[in-house]
């Protein structure tokens, strides 16, 4: 499991908000407000952890007028874990105890 930092949470929340749609780097930068130097290391860590998978866009660069993009998508396991972590963080921020955990 990747270490859950604020940046990681922002990225997984943005991918969850996409509702299963693929997102490329610039879209995720806009959605999270993270700079490129923060976003890509997070994506690499999430991909290594199996939370995210990526694929290259199958397109003709000459026809599109731009190079092929790399798209990111939450895996099934990643989506489940991401939902749990984002919910836990939201509950923590609101001061409510996390479901399934007894209060300390």
């Amino acid at each position: 499991m990747p270490r859950m930092t604020a940046s990681v949470l922002k990225v997984v929340a943005a991918l969850l908000a996409a509702g299963g749609a693929e997102r490329y780097g610039l879209q995720l930068m806009q959605a999270t407000g993270l700079p490129s130097g923060t976003l890509y290391p997070v994506l690499v860590r999430l991909e290594r952890a199996g939370w995210v998978e990526s694929r290259w866009e199958e397109t003709d660069p000459a026809a599109e007028g731009r190079p092929a993009r790399r798209y990111y998508l939450l895996t099934a396991e990643g989506a489940t874990s991401a939902r749990r972590e984002v919910a836990a963080m939201r509950q923590q921020m609101s001061g409510a105890p996390v479901l399934g955990e007894s209060p300390a």
């Binding site: 490329y24 780097g25 700079p35 130097g37 923060t38 690499v44 290594r48 190079p67 993009r69």
Partner: protein, 409 residues
């Protein structure tokens, strides 16, 4: 556009080879979309070029590394001033303290040398609140620090290469036997290069930083190799060069003296911090060698016999007793009470040390006399400004907390 592509290439080179090519292709594709705004392109590529990689050191680690180097320089400066105002022989315990401080940090010797260079230059060049040192201008300090840094970095590089060129510990019975004792870290390959290069770096830096003074004072450069050791000895050890009468370089009430007194008195302000920083770097290099020697042979601890086992048990008991005493006095490790006590004490000590140094340096005439008897205190001019004083106190507190935090096991 070319600059951005270059930045992307630099950024990709820092990533593991198996993903670097894909990342570069992806970034180039994203960059092409941003073509309408050069600023956005530059921000995109620049952020990737400087940001930590997924496996590399984080910003927090980078900040700690830079703060540690600045703290080492500050410690060397403080200890140098303490030595100058008391007795030259105190340079030995000061060096030992620097070595102990080095073992509490995780810097690499190469990184430490590179990172210590800017604060050391700043301390010697910009830290001078009252300009009394006759030869401590840019043409003196810059060559000295550049020579020290370049020579020491080259030495560390060569010593590492010599160590790496030999067969691994598993390669021969001799090396396998040798790797069983951490003491081999002080006799292994590259050690002679390391020690000789360190001494050469100090001598060369002293010469580079004093040539301008020697030229002005009319001292022959043939004595140059002796300037470093002589600068660490008491002022009346030797005298050479033309006799100076009280003039621009001496206080009005000073007796005529040899030019060597001014040259060496000036050099001693430079050489003491350089020596202590060199000891810090050497201690880092040797502690790495000890770690390497112990980690290559896991059974080595088992083969040291009952005597050392007994000693180790006694040491552990003694350490545990000391830890218990500290815990009772300051609170458990990491507790707010202990952190506040340690950090506050360090900050107050730093403020007191800065004020004491500034007071000692406040009288230019008295300081000019100190130049002649090798007791000049120097630097900490930055502490005259409240922001400089606050930054120094903050740095001292942060580093004390960092150095006293429990070592992960």
């Amino acid at each position: 556009m070319r600059l951005c592509l270059l930045l992307l290439a630099v950024a990709a080179r820092r990533w593991p080879p198996d993903i670097a090519a894909d990342l570069l292709r992806e970034w180039q594709a994203e960059l092409s979309v941003l073509r309408s705004s050069r600023f956005q392109m530059l921000m995109y590529a620049g952020s990737l070029a400087v940001a930590p990689t997924a496996d590399g050191p984080s910003w927090s680690h980078r900040t700690t590394t830079v703060a540690t180097a600045a703290g080492a320089t500050l410690l060397a400066a403080t200890l140098s001033n303490a030595v100058h105002t008391t007795a030259p022989w105190l340079i030995l315990p000061a060096a030992a303290l620097m070595a102990v401080a080095a073992t509490r940090t995780r810097l690499s010797p190469l990184a430490a040398t590179a990172l210590i260079t800017p604060p050391l230059f700043a301390f010697l060049f910009l830290g001078n609140a009252v300009s009394v040192m006759p030869f401590m201008g840019f043409q003196d300090v810059a060559p000295a620090i550049a020579t020290w840094s370049t020579t020491l970095l080259t030495t560390l590089f060569l010593s590492t290469r010599r160590a790496a060129a030999l067969p691994s510990p598993a390669g021969s019975p001799t090396s396998r036997r040798a790797s069983r004792r951490p003491a081999t870290a002080f006799r292994g390959p590259g050690v002679a290069t390391l020690l000789a290069g360190s001494v050469i770096s100090l001598i060369a830096a002293t010469v580079a930083g004093s040539l301008n003074a020697a030229h002005t004072l009319g001292i022959s450069p043939w004595s140059a190799p002796l300037w470093f050791p002589l600068s660490l000895l008491p002022a009346d050890t030797t005298a050479f060069g033309p006799v100076l009468s009280p003039a621009a370089l001496l206080p009005a009430d000073a007796a005529p003296t040899h030019a060597s007194a001014v040259l060496l008195g000036n050099a001693t302000v430079l050489t003491a911090p350089l020596l202590l920083c060199t000891v810090f770097v050497l201690a880092l290099a040797f502690s790495r060698r000890i770690q390497a020697a112990t980690s290559t042979e896991p059974q080595s601890r088992a083969s040291t016999g009952r005597a050392s086992t007994g000693r180790a048990t006694a040491d552990r008991a003694s350490t545990a007793r000391a830890r218990r005493a500290v815990t009772i006095a300051l609170g458990p490790a990491g507790s707010p009470r202990r952190q506040a006590t340690l950090g506050g004490t360090a900050a107050l000590t730093a403020v007191a040390a800065c004020q004491a140094t500034l007071l000692a340096a406040a009288d230019p005439t008295a300081l000019a006399h100190r130049v002649l008897d090798h007791s000049a205190v120097f630097g900490f001019g930055f502490a005259t400004h409240p922001a400089g004083l606050a930054a120094t106190a903050l740095l001292a507190a942060a580093l004390t907390l960092r150095l006293t935090e429990p070592t992960p096991t």
